[in-house]
């Protein structure tokens, strides 16, 4: 059911040309996917996706739209090449999933190798009930540090792009003004 709604939202996104509506739809899409995550036991992820996808990124999109205008031009030509690329990629993925272990099967290798350790040992090793937190902050704490750095890098990037004095546009001729 959620999946079907998601698909509908996705298609609507594709068709919509009012960017305002598109952004709102994207927020809804995120919320729906958060719902899906909850269904699939990923409560932490759902929480984050709701906060980020439906919250922060919608706000950012709206902020950007306020600056950029919210109408999209009609695509000039039928995009056959992208369609082809997408079909090939999608087809390949579907083909690839044929050999994938079935959805939700507890015997899948993915649930055993290291996942077993996390679930069985983490309480002895770290004594925290939320395994996601244990893995996030300790077992794979270094990834999280990288993630923090990514966020920081994004801030640096946005500061570089938007913090300057306004009205000092880059020169279209690209020549240095020598100052």
């Amino acid at each position: 059911m959620l999946l079907t709604l998601l698909a509908a939202a996705g298609l609507a996104l594709l068709r919509g040309r009012n960017l305002f509506a598109v952004v709102m739809l994207a927020g809804i899409y995120s919320l729906l996917s958060a719902g899906l995550f909850t269904v699939m036991d990923a409560v932490d992820v759902a929480f984050t996706e709701a906060a980020v996808g439906a919250g922060i990124s919608t706000v950012l999109f709206l902020g950007a739209l306020a600056l950029c205008g919210h109408h999209e031009n009609k695509p000039g030509h039928t995009p056959l090449l992208p369609l082809f690329v997408v079909l090939v990629t999608g087809g390949l993925l579907v083909w690839g999933t044929m050999d994938m272990p079935g959805f939700g099967d507890p015997a899948n290798p993915v649930h055993h190798h290291v996942a077993d350790h996390y679930i069985e040992e983490s309480y002895h090793e770290i004594e925290i009930p939320n395994v996601v937190t244990s893995v996030l902050a300790s077992y794979r704490g270094y990834d999280t540090m990288g993630e923090t750095t990514v966020v920081f890098a994004a801030a640096v990037g946005v500061m570089i792009l938007l913090a300057g004095r306004l009205g000092r546009k880059p020169r279209p001729d690209g020549k240095g003004d020598g100052t």
Binding site: D41, V45, A64, N73, P79, V85, P106, G146, V158
Partner: protein, 126 residues
Amino acid sequence: MSLDLLVSHYNYWVVIFLMMVGFYILISRGNLIKKIVGLNVFQTSVFMLYISMGKVSGGTPPILLPGEEGVLYSNPLPHVLILTAIVVGIATTSVGLALAVRIKEAYGTIEEDEINAIDARTEAAE
């Protein structure tokens, strides 16, 4: 293609369909903001693919209930990976949007073909 396969993989396939919708928006649309929306949809769908992998039928969220034996928990590792990926996604989105804003200021438009036309004109004038 057996029904069995269909049932056990239906979830993946819908997710792949969504992924491709996002990917298609990303590569076929000329509007820069729409492209970023597409990227978001694409990435969110990839997250769903990961979370689908971590799901164990009949499992519960991986928050341990000490003292209770025999509880089937879902795999926490994909959740952790996706938490990281979500953060990376929002980081990319914010930088992309900031770029779009600057492009709008510099060119007066965020439509790719119009930008290309402007660039071609200035290049020819040089």
